[in-house]
């Protein structure tokens, strides 16, 4: 079992995300995280799927995804073939704001991006292991809420989408 990123480039067609996710549902495979956004090309969407599975399975999944009519191309990568980030937000009660917390924020190079009457919001970007370790520490500060995005990733291999658009 390995961690993989599947990058799917699609036409902007209603239901495309559903068509992709049912491929996973049918085979009982969990999606660890999923993000969707516009790509470099106008009108083409990029869906990034993170999952833990075998190489054999990820190849099959990529082929099944590519079989969807409105999918232009699906690439799969191991973690060392992509540059990726995840963003995390941490909501901390205002009472917890003390020098100890300030030190943690500095150490992690995190930011306070909002301060309200009752709480502050800390933002931190990194790999899941990094945002997770900050979460563990912030539990001591009575963290109120936590949210982490799916992976956004760009590939290292230079095989570009352009050749599949002809």
């Amino acid at each position: 079992m390995n961690r993989y990123t599947i990058s799917v480039f699609t036409e902007n067609f209603i239901g495309i995300l559903n068509r992709i996710t049912i491929i996973f549902t049918r085979r009982g495979i969990n999606i660890d995280a999923l993000t969707a956004s516009e790509s470099r090309e106008d009108g083409i969407y990029k869906i990034t799927i993170e999952l833990t599975t075998s190489e054999e399975q990820v190849i099959q999944l990529s082929k099944q995804i590519e079989k969807i009519i409105d999918v232009i191309k699906a690439f799969y990568y191991t973690d060392d073939q992509v540059v990726y980030q995840e963003i995390a937000l941490y909501k901390i009660p205002i009472e917890s704001l003390d020098p100890r917390l300030e030190k943690v924020i500095r150490q992690f190079n995190a930011h306070i991006i909002a301060a309200e009457k009752d709480f502050v919001v800390i933002e931190f970007t990194g790999h899941k292991e990094d945002t997770q370790s900050l979460l563990e520490i912030l539990k001591e500060f009575n963290i109120l809420e936590f949210a982490r995005s799916g992976r956004v990733a760009v590939a290292k291999p230079m095989d570009t989408l352009d050749k599949y658009l002809k």
Binding site: I14, N18, R26, Q64, K67, D70
Partner: protein
């Protein structure tokens, strides 16, 4: 400007559609209203159930090679298409299904007969779309036809809201020639063909297994040329039957669970396995861990997702098999494999002695399904089409029917849909009234769609229906006998008088219970002008052999 409903019908006419199989209802009524004006240009067949409509469309598509069309209303009308959609998907049958939908402003409100058809049909269709504006209808239908028939064919669904049918738009039909994100035909790699040819030329015991891809790719002549030049024994999957004449000297039988003894056993003794247009279904391979492990595998396949899905191959040849076979024929040496072929013939003798003799010329009192097929072979035309349902009769008919031409078989292979045969036979017959269409059913399956006798009556389609009645759900009973200690749990049927039912539908019928009447009854059926219903009462507890039990390897095929 014309109405959206007229656009639907004129788009179908623009695609040279000959038949629509359908059933009206509220949300599709504008289209039915339009059909009234075009009845001289396109024929609509009113079935008795939407499932009947889609199976008829499948039967039509399978024998004609054209796209079958099913039309239904929203809600229950549309959901009744789902079994046929799933069947067409797994058997790669090109279909365009058009469903009515509630008006756009009612979507998502649980309106009367509203169902999320795009959502429900998504896992089972090759593509689907909801159309909410009249101007989007023609482009959606054009795209639907292109997707349904190109590449590996499949079912598509176009869901059209009622307002789109009643609103007006310009009509200018532009056929869809390509889609940026969809490349249905890969270019055949010369290197792959060369590598495959080298393996084939060096092989001592090569073996060809072919499937429906040969029929879909219209590559039957190329397959024959390839087999004739290389002298390689060739066996068929269920859906591949007919792609190579069974009279060909290199044809060695059928593969899989109830296929023939020799090709199953020798799959595990060949040194090069050449798979043409087949997908290594579990009913063909048995236990994958013990399937052709000794062989180098060459896979000629159109769908990239099939490569290495079940069986890892040494040389994949992606692309249209007609093209890849043509290239292979050039690249391989003419050869003979007489000794190897002889081994198939020896095992075949054993099967004939132990199994076929008892099936075809039994000495016991009760009639066998096999002897009925034997008489069908005797009286049928060479180009007769055999349509079967699902179960024991399907396997027996497949085993013994003489397939001499391509596209002479229609059956539900991948999905195993009971109730498929009767409506599918109707669709096959409507494609050509002058061809013999023989519909072989069991007493279980026929009762799932028996209402389509009404459609046969109304269309006067001269289908020859042969009911092999053992008063059991025979295949399930066989499994109960073999694997569940003969605990015949809910498989025995108390049946109606089938011939009377047929006669109530004004279809001539007769019933045979003894061997003495069988030959003449089958002959009479073929002579009769019009549809005919022949019920043959067969032995209650006969089993289908050979058999590869679930979890067993192909070489563990049993003769009894």
């Amino acid at each position: 400007m014309i109405r959206g409903a007229d656009i639907v019908v004129r788009s179908l006419i623009a695609e040279n559609a000959e038949y629509i199989f359908g059933y009206p209802g509220g949300a599709i009524m504008p289209v039915y209203d339009a059909l009234y004006d075009y009845s001289d240009r396109i024929k609509h067949v009113l079935t008795r159930h939407e499932q009947g409509a889609i199976h008829a469309a499948q039967g039509y598509a399978r024998v004609s090679g054209k796209v079958g069309i099913a039309l239904a209303t929203s809600g229950p009308g549309a959901t009744n298409l789902i079994t046929g959609i799933a069947d067409a998907q797994i058997d790669s049958t090109p279909l365009v299904c058009i469903t009515g939908q509630v008006a756009a402003h009612l979507l998502g409100t649980d309106a009367f007969q509203e169902t999320d058809m795009v959502g429900i049909s998504m896992p089972g269709t090759k593509w689907n779309i909801q159309v909410r504006r009249a101007e989007d209808i023609a482009p959606a239908i054009a795209k639907a036809f292109h997707i349904a028939r190109s590449g590996r064919p499949g079912p598509v669904l176009v869901d059209i809201t009622k307002n789109a049918q009643t609103e007006f738009a310009e009509f200018n039909y532009i056929p869809c020639l390509g889609i940026r994100s969809y490349k249905p035909y890969a270019e055949v790699s010369k290197e792959a063909v060369q590598q495959a040819a080298e393996l084939i030329n060096a092989a001592e015991r090569p073996f060809i297994v072919f499937g429906q891809g040969v029929l879909i790719g219209k590559a039957d002549k190329e397959l024959k040329a390839f087999v004739d030049k290389t002298g390689i024994p060739a066996a068929s999957t269920l859906l591949g039957s007919g792609a190579l004449s069974e009279m060909n000297t290199h044809y060695v039988g059928k593969l899989g669970m109830h296929g023939n003894y020799a090709p199953n056993i020798l799959t595990n003794q060949c040194d090069v396995l050449i798979a043409v247009g087949m997908r290594f279904d579990d009913r063909v391979t048995g236990d994958l861990k013990r399937y052709a492990k000794q062989a180098k595998v060459i896979h000629l396949e159109l769908d990239p997702a099939e490569i290495d899905k079940n069986v890892k191959c040494t040389v994949p040849i992606l692309g249209d098999c007609r093209q890849s076979l043509e290239m292979l024929i050039e690249a391989v040496h003419a050869n003979k494999h007489e000794d190897w072929l002889q081994r198939f013939r020896e095992l075949e003798k054993e099967e004939k002695k132990v199994v076929c003799a008892n099936d075809l010329s039994p000495t016991k009192v009760g009639l066998t399904m096999g002897e009925v097929i034997r008489f069908i072979n005797e009286y049928k035309a060479d180009d007769a089409i055999l349509v079967t349902d699902v179960g024991q009769h399907q396997m027996i008919a497949w085993r013994y029917f003489d397939y001499k031409q391509p596209r002479t078989q229609v059956t539900s292979g991948g999905l195993g849909t009971m109730g498929f045969a009767l409506p599918a036979a109707l669709g096959a017959q409507l494609h050509d009234f002058n061809r013999q269409v023989i519909c072989v059913c069991g007493d279980g399956g026929i009762q799932m769609t028996i209402q389509e006798l009404g459609t046969i009556m109304q269309t006067k389609a001269p289908v020859k229906i042969v009911l092999l009645n053992n008063n059991y759900l025979g295949m399930v009973r066989q499994w109960q006998q073999m694997f569940f200690d003969k605990r015949y749990s809910f498989t025995e049927l108390e049946n109606p008088d089938f011939v009377k039912i047929a006669e109530a539908y004004k279809i001539k019928g007769s019933k045979v219970t003894g061997r003495a009447e069988l030959s003449e009854a089958v002959a009479d059926m073929f002579i009769h002008d019009g549809p005919y219903f022949l019920e043959v009462v067969v032995e209650k507890e006969d089993n289908v052999f050979p058999m590869i039990a679930t979890g067993c390897s192909v070489e563990e095929v049993r003769l009894s």
